[in-house]
């Protein structure tokens, strides 16, 4: 499928186009308007170079597709792996959101146990043995040994 080959450069082409549009809208301060280089100069250069290289990238990838066909197409993922990765990413988002309200110890324990579960570990003993000591040791090292603050949890205070 041609799209798989040109997807990357196409995404970059879109990104650099939007980046360029915003670069041209960077508000300049009055004294900057007479300077040879202002806040928007390098973003404009990067946008221009980005558009050129990603356009060349689209052409190069098209040529590659024409020469090699679908055999060397990137991506090609299994459905179950996509489901797992979606769950892992969701877990990371939830962990980030709960870290401050629930505190380091509770949120990390939940994250590790849920993470091991999503990755296919079902044995309760392993789930606990690989998460509880880890969290406790990490917490002790950080707070007691290195004197680094870890969120205690706004929910409990």
């Amino acid at each position: 499928m041609l799209l798989r080959f040109v997807l990357g450069p196409l995404l970059f082409l879109m990104f650099f186009t939007v980046y360029g549009i915003y670069a041209w809208q960077i508000p300049l301060l009055p004294f900057e308007q007479y300077e040879a280089v202002d806040s928007s100069t390098l973003p404009k250069i990067y946008a221009g170079l980005g558009v050129i290289f990603s356009f060349l990238g689209v052409i190069a990838q098209y040529i590659k597709y024409r020469d090699e066909g679908d055999d060397h197409a990137p991506l090609g993922l299994k459905k179950e792996n996509i489901k797992t990765i979606a769950l892992v990413i969701l877990l990371m988002v939830i962990y980030s959101a709960l870290l401050e309200p629930l505190g380091f110890i509770v949120s990390t324990l939940l994250f590790l146990i849920a993470g091991f579960w999503v990755m296919g570990e079902r044995r309760g003993r392993i789930l606990l043995l690989s998460s509880v000591p880890m969290v406790v040791i990490f917490w002790l090292v950080m707070t007691q040994l290195l004197d680094i603050y870890l969120a205690a949890g706004t929910f409990w205070s």
């Binding site: 650099f16 946008a47 590790l112």
Partner: protein, 505 residues
């Protein structure tokens, strides 16, 4: 210089710094062994800890982690053919076949001794080269720095991506573009912040490093698991670790040559351990007598010793531009540069004068670090290798946890965590589309320095581009950058032309 060196010796031999070398080497070896995790991740994970121990100790710890990770990467290359680090890919060409023949112990010993020799020769050369270059670089102007960074960026794009030069260039420019987010340091103008106060300071380098390496690599292992390597992990007996006189005689010349070559390549911005190891391997294959040549790829001792010596010497060499010019030659040294700046130090030619303790203690600690790798890590390898049999699900989740908490411990801002997850998803997609990550990180870290020096050069030359050709040094570096940029393009076009002429319709 001698007095300054003594300051460094004093600092390096304080008991706590000696301990940091040992800890750094062990942690680096441990993390470097894990397939998918390299020195960048290992050092990034260390940053929250280094903030609390001061610049000299912090840099010593990070340097220890760096060469420990390269050493650890060799172990997984040899044992399971899964290099944890790009710089040790070449070690797997002959190291893994040796392990398959039941000589894993010997292969690990060759790797350790070659790494030790490469690292030690590199440290001696660093001691000589760094002060000399620091003196020379005092005469560098802003324009020279811009051009040097330009060479670094184009070189890493040209060499880092197996012919996918355009992809590497897109990633480099993407990194440069990301570096423009936040308040412009020269004028105070907001750029690409979209009214979001968390973006005013720009994106943190740690966030980008963690998202593009640690997180996305761990996620990559979930979405594209390598079953074969998982099954190979930790199998079998390692065999004897002893080297015979014949082995030493066979590898000694290769190790010597490769150490010098590795150091010189390591000094070049953009090159680094990966290219050094491949070039040393290729050079040894070409130089080998006919009776040894046929063994390359089948378990040749020289084929393992050469890249090992070269990659460690290159790691040491990469400290030359970092410590003397303040320009990182690789993603790993870029992270160290970020850490030095976070300490309030200005890496560059004045570092040697202003902070001799940091400058020299890092160099002196490298001797000790190499000894630690040899006498402590080598006997521990059979035990450290057990990490390779850790169940993948546990390992992946631990890596995700350490990456998230590492960033949180530096900023204490959950917004950074959401940003990091977002960037990790983008990085994952780009990895799946076979885009290289190192150019992005280097572009991001050099972006700010390029902009500052470019603006200064333009200001000094009153808005004209004359600075590009007024000084022979600037012009020479500029020409080198252009050559580095166009050689891969010419190669691509020549390849196309040959293909067209070879296959007439």
């Amino acid at each position: 210089m001698f007095d300054a060196l003594m300051v460094g010796v004093d600092a390096a031999f304080q008991w706590n710094n000696l301990m940091y070398v040992v800890v750094g080497c062990l942690v680096g070896t441990f993390i470097g062994m894990l397939p998918g995790l390299g020195p960048i991740t290992a050092i990034a994970l260390m940053i929250p800890i280094t903030y609390s121990i001061g610049p000299s100790s912090g840099m010593i710890l990070m340097a220890g982690v760096y060469y420990g990770a390269i050493f650890g990467g060799s172990t997984s290359s040899i044992l399971i053919n899964a290099p944890g680090v790009a710089g040790t890919v070449a070690s797997s060409f002959d190291g893994y076949p040796m392990a398959r023949k039941g000589m894993a112990g010997k292969a690990l010993a060759i790797a350790a001794w070659s790494s030790f020799t490469g690292g030690t020769i590199g440290a001696v050369m660093l001691m000589v080269a760094a002060p000399t270059l620091a003196e020379v670089s005092l005469s560098f102007y802003s324009g020279d720095y811009v051009m040097l960074m330009f060479v670094g960026l184009t070189a890493i794009a040209a060499f880092s991506s197996n012919g996918e030069f355009l992809k590497a260039m897109m990633m480099t420019i993407f990194g440069l573009a990301l570096s423009t987010i936040g308040i412009d340091p020269s004028s105070g103008t907001e750029r690409f912040t979209f009214g979001q106060p968390d973006l005013l300071d720009g994106l943190s380098f740690l966030l980008i490093a963690m998202a593009t390496f640690a997180l996305s690599e761990a996620l990559m292992n979930v979405i594209k698991p390598d079953k074969q390597k998982d099954e190979d992990m930790g199998k079998g007996n390692l065999g004897s670790f002893k080297l015979t006189k014949g082995d030493v005689k066979e590898i000694a010349p290769s190790v010597g040559r490769s150490s010098v070559l590795g150091f010189l390549i390591g000094v070049l911005p953009g090159a680094g351990a990966t290219i050094a190891s491949f070039m040393a391997y290729a050079a040894e294959r070409n130089l080998a007598p006919a009776k040894y040549k046929k063994d390359f790829g089948e378990g040749a001792k020289r084929g393992l010793a050469a890249p090992e010596a070269a990659n460690n010497a290159a790691c040491t060499g990469s400290f030359v531009p970092l410590l003397t010019l303040g320009i990182p030659g690789s993603g790993t040294t870029a992270i160290m540069l970020g850490a030095l700046i976070a300490y309030g130090l200005q890496p560059g030619p004045l570092l040697m004068q202003d902070n001799p303790d940091v400058f020299w203690s890092v160099i002196v600690s490298m001797y000790f670090g190499n000894i630690v790798l040899l006498i402590l890590n080598l006997p521990l390898i059979p035990y450290l290798a057990k990490v390779l049999v850790l169940p993948k699900p546990l390992l992946t989740i631990f890596i995700l946890f350490f990456s998230l908490i590492g960033v949180y411990l530096v900023s204490f801002n959950t917004f950074d965590l959401f940003m990091m997850i977002g960037f990790a998803c983008i990085a994952l997609l780009l990895r799946l589309l076979t885009f290289p990550m190192a150019p992005l990180l280097l572009g991001f870290i050099l972006g700010d320095m390029i902009e500052r020096n470019f603006r200064r050069a333009m200001l000094i030359s009153d808005g004209s581009m004359n600075w590009l050709w007024e000084r022979p040094l600037t012009l020479t570096i500029f020409i080198i950058a252009i050559v580095v940029l166009f050689v891969p393009l010419f190669g691509f076009m020549k390849g196309r032309l040959n293909k067209t002429t070879a296959t007439p319709d």
